[in-house]
Symmetry: C2
Subunit: 109 residues, 2 copies
Amino acid sequence: MGVLRFGQLGKLKPEKIEEYCALHANPWPEVLETIKQCNMRNYSIYLHGDLVFAYFEYVGEDFDADMQKMDNDPITKKWWEHTHPCFIEYAIHPASQFYHDMKPIFYYE
Amino acid sequence: MGVLRFGQLGKLKPEKIEEYCALHANPWPEVLETIKQCNMRNYSIYLHGDLVFAYFEYVGEDFDADMQKMDNDPITKKWWEHTHPCFIEYAIHPASQFYHDMKPIFYYE
């Protein structure tokens, strides 16, 4: 399997934008380690107004299994107790509680 | 100089979304070659509704000079005659006619 690229959009509560940025300016080392263990690479997040855009690459062999592994990590769960309340849930798409996968329309290596 | 990462947001005219996607599904080879010559790498664009997000990495030594080189390329100028009218100009930020650089708030390799 080649590299999979993800572009995701989310919407923050205006009063939580600062907190979301502060959390990501000093992310927990265990959370970063889990990201690596779950085969996510080159992960960046960008802000404009209340919109956040996340880009990352998945380099593993079983995306669903790795996401399940992340879901099951107790420290990541704790981290999400801080980050998830920053989002306006389902703001981008009715099927996506936080970040929503955008449609890729162009790629050039 | 290390790699610079860019996350950019733009807004399309609703009636031009399909055309913008079609253009980027079959980009002109000369435009891709200019992207490469201007030291932009790993370039992807994502769509949600009328919002487009672009991610790319800059691996050169002089970003302004390379962007000037791109601006001066006659085929890229022709390409932009097709892509630029797809945008609602200045929709994201009063200083950005098309794509606007978002603020990076997180990066993990």
